[in-house]
């Protein structure tokens, strides 16, 4: 094949350019740590990576929703536990009142203690979460759910649930419905008070104590449900953590450069480039001109 001077130099130029481009490409990957810097670098991988990233961001939101639900369920559980303490106290007082040795003055003293317990329970039933919403008001979270009118407790809330999204199409009830438990509890204490004032010790031991016991077991059943939910939350959270970690790993596999092999490729590209440079340097010095006197 005939080699023209232009052929010789344009070949040098073309080869230099390719060697240079390879070197720049691999340096880009090494310095950014990513093999996908634009969608066209790997369209399929890129599509997978963005799907996984959005899945991961969604999971992070579910985890955040779980944390919020955990917070309000935790507050509700604490409140229920305090109610239970109050009711235990009421139980002791009722047992005391049921004994026939008490005189009416002592019974009246118990009545005022029960009244205090009642107002404590109303306070607890009106507990607000960190954002000021009422925990036991159903969906009417901005209305104080319990008010006392005369001797009756009035419920101003509703019995609708508040749900948190904890997965695609999956929700978890994050509020605790206090009705009819709280009203029943209040009314039981009201009856107890009446029986104490009337010195009706028989009714106390026959009916009131049993009612208080039944309220206590309702509270503890509700707390059991809350505890089960909190357990679900904790296991889902750690499950999501694992999923999210796996996604991070998979995204990294698609997007990130394998540093070891990139470093080797860089070595190769850089050698190819320097070889191309030295060919240009030496090839172009050869000319017939050097031999013509």
């Amino acid at each position: 094949m005939r080699i023209s001077t232009n052929y010789q130099f344009s070949t040098y130029q073309y080869n230099l350019q390719i060697a240079d481009q390879n070197l720049v490409n691999i340096s880009d990957q090494l310095s950014s740590g990513k093999k996908i810097n634009e969608p066209s670098d790997d369209p399929v991988g890129f599509g997978q990576a963005i799907s996984m990233q959005s899945l991961q961001a969604g999971i992070q939101q579910y985890v955040s929703n779980l944390n919020t639900a955990n917070g309000s369920l935790g507050t509700a559980d604490n409140t229920l536990s305090s109610m239970s303490t109050q009711m235990n106290q009421a139980y002791s007082l009722a047992v005391e009142g049921a004994s026939s040795t008490m005189d009416q003055t002592s019974l009246n003293a118990i009545v005022s203690q029960i009244s205090q317990i009642q107002s404590q329970i109303v306070n607890l039933a009106n507990t607000q979460g960190p954002d000021g919403s009422y925990l036991f008001a159903g969906q009417k979270t901005s209305t104080e759910p319990y008010t006392v009118q005369g001797n009756t407790l009035v419920f101003n809330g509703d019995t609708n649930t508040i749900n948190a999204e904890i997965g695609p199409g999956q929700t978890l009830q994050s509020n605790v419905l206090g009705e009819p438990m709280i009203t029943t509890m209040y009314n039981n204490l009201e009856t107890l008070k009446n029986d104490l004032s009337g010195g009706n010790t028989g009714a106390i031991s026959d009916v009131d104590i049993a009612n208080i016991q039944s309220s206590l077991s309702t509270i503890s059943a509700t707390r059991g449900q809350v505890g089960a939910k909190m357990q679900t939350i904790s296991s889902l959270t750690s499950q999501y953590q694992v999923q999210s970690d796996n996604l991070t790993k998979n995204i990294s596999n698609i997007e990130d450069v394998d540093m070891a092999s990139a470093a080797v490729q860089y070595q190769e590209a850089s050698q190819a480039y320097s070889a191309a440079l030295s060919v240009v340097g030496q090839g172009s010095t050869l000319s017939l001109l050097d031999f013509i006197k």
């Binding site: 969604g58 939101q61 999204e165 695609p168 013509i292």
Partner: protein
């Protein structure tokens, strides 16, 4: 019997031929770097012999012509490859620009904003009356809408600049066509007068090659040295001169149009620009689909609720009344009432502050397969949209790399045939120089012989 000065006149033909050959060599060396220059060689023939005492003796050398060395077959390949290369390089640069509009790796892409928007609804679901979360939904909605609208308007700008590139390319092509027609005339005049217009031929080849980068070109050489040029069914140059290239076109079919004639431009930069413009409108229509589907899906849920201001029927994204054609991505935005006050966002149908049912339904759209998105979820639709753009760009890039390599290869073959080799020219130079010296020496011998003869007469 030949005359006394026969030898001298024979040597004269040699001196003049070798002088011209040296000039041609010098001219080749001068043009070693000239783009499109074809090396020239002298064609030497022996002079017819004359009868000398029963013997025929040659009368010297005749420089018949100065030819340029060129391969028509390679040239035809080159202009075809140039058209393909022109198409791919303009398509690649167009698609690369589009690709950078996706903001794909910046963390601020439509996809990222879509995820953030769903997350905001998801968070709002369990605390529907939290003002901070309402504001978050409002802002995530605005960011999403503005990124969809922003990409659309970026594509629009790209389309506008493609349109102006198409016009200037047609103009440029017309200029080259005019030049070729002029060169045709000059070449014809020179050929008729019997000379070899090598430089003009090189110049015309260059012009044809430049034209072939802009549009597909077919060359038909004529007897008188002129060429006719065609692009598909359209005549560009014929014996009557340059034709006028239509400046009207239909980008969607990739054709120039004149009256009811259409001339498809499948290659050349013009072809690449038409294809870029087709791609851009397909991307724009996908964004329209995305925007309209977001409107329909979110509004149909949102408008059933009662918002914090006690209103019902409020849209989340601004939309035309039902039954009218939706407006697409160009004016995609959150409804002004919600922009003005996040309390206008409805989270439930009951109006209770704790009712987050609708917020959860909207968050649930994240994983809903939607018919108008070809049965995909919003996220999948976006992901296939962007990887489609990436795929288009990657295909164009790799084809463009191949076509550049093909161009390089053909260029080298042409260079191998037509290019000047300094070593060869220097060798030729030495050869002609020595030949000239020998002829001059012979001339001086003839001179002495003649001199001797004349001296005898004295």
């Amino acid at each position: 019997m030949p005359g006394l000065f026969q030898g001298i006149s024979t040597m004269n033909t040699a001196l003049s031929a070798f002088q011209t050959a040296l000039d041609v060599t010098g001219n080749n060396i001068t043009n070693v770097n000239t783009v499109g220059y074809s090396r020239q060689v002298v064609q030497l023939n022996p002079m017819p012999s004359t009868l000398d005492n029963n013997h025929f003796v040659g009368d010297g050398v005749n420089l018949v012509s100065i030819n340029r060395i060129q391969d028509q077959f390679l040239f035809a390949q080159q202009i075809q490859a140039a058209s393909e290369d022109g198409r791919l390089s303009s398509l690649t640069s167009g698609l690369n620009n589009v690709q950078s509009l996706t903001n794909a790796t910046s963390g601020a892409s439509i996809g990222d904003n879509l995820t953030a928007f769903f997350n905001a609804w998801s968070a709002l679901g369990s605390s529907p009356s939290d003002p901070a979360l309402l504001q978050q939904v409002q802002q995530a909605g605005e960011t999403l809408a503005s990124s969809v609208q922003g990409m659309y308007s970026g594509l629009q700008q790209q389309a506008t600049s493609t349109t102006s590139d198409i016009s200037s390319t047609i103009q440029q092509a017309q200029g080259i066509v005019n030049t070729i027609a002029q060169l045709n005339q000059q070449i014809q005049a020179a050929t008729v007068s019997g000379s070899e217009p090598n430089e003009l031929l090189d110049e015309r080849d260059q012009a044809v090659q430049q034209l072939s980068e802009l549009m597909p070109v077919k060359v038909q050489p004529m007897q008188d040295g002129t060429v006719m040029l065609f692009s598909g069914q359209m005549t560009l140059v014929d014996q009557s001169g340059a034709a006028t290239i239509p400046t009207t076109y239909d980008a969607s079919t990739g054709s120039l149009t004149s009256g009811n004639q259409t001339y498809p431009m499948p290659s050349g930069q013009l072809g690449g620009l038409f294809q870029t413009s087709q791609k851009i409108s397909s991307y724009q229509s996908q964004l329209d689909t995305l925007a309209n589907t977001l409107r329909t899906q979110f509004n149909s849920i949102e408008s059933t609720g009662i918002n914090g201001l006690g209103q019902t029927g409020q849209n989340f994204f601004q939309d035309v009344p039902a039954g009218q054609p939706q407006t697409g991505a160009v004016d995609f935005q959150v409804d002004p009432a919600i922009v003005a006050n996040p309390q206008a966002i409805a989270t439930g149908v009951s109006g209770n502050p704790g009712d987050g049912g609708l917020a959860l339904s909207m968050s649930n759209l994240r994983s809903t397969q939607i018919a108008s998105l070809a049965g995909q979820t919003f996220g999948d639709f976006y992901s296939s949209f962007v990887s489609g753009i990436g795929q288009d760009a990657a295909t164009a890039q790799s084809q463009s790399t191949t076509s550049a390599a093909v161009m390089q290869q053909i260029g080298q073959q042409i260079s191998s045939v037509s290019g000047v080799s300094l070593d060869q020219e220097l060798t030729n130079m030495l050869q002609y120089q020595r030949s000239y010296q020998a002829a001059a020496k012979a001339l001086s011998v003839f001179d002495e012989t003649t001199n001797d003869l004349i001296n005898i007469i004295q």
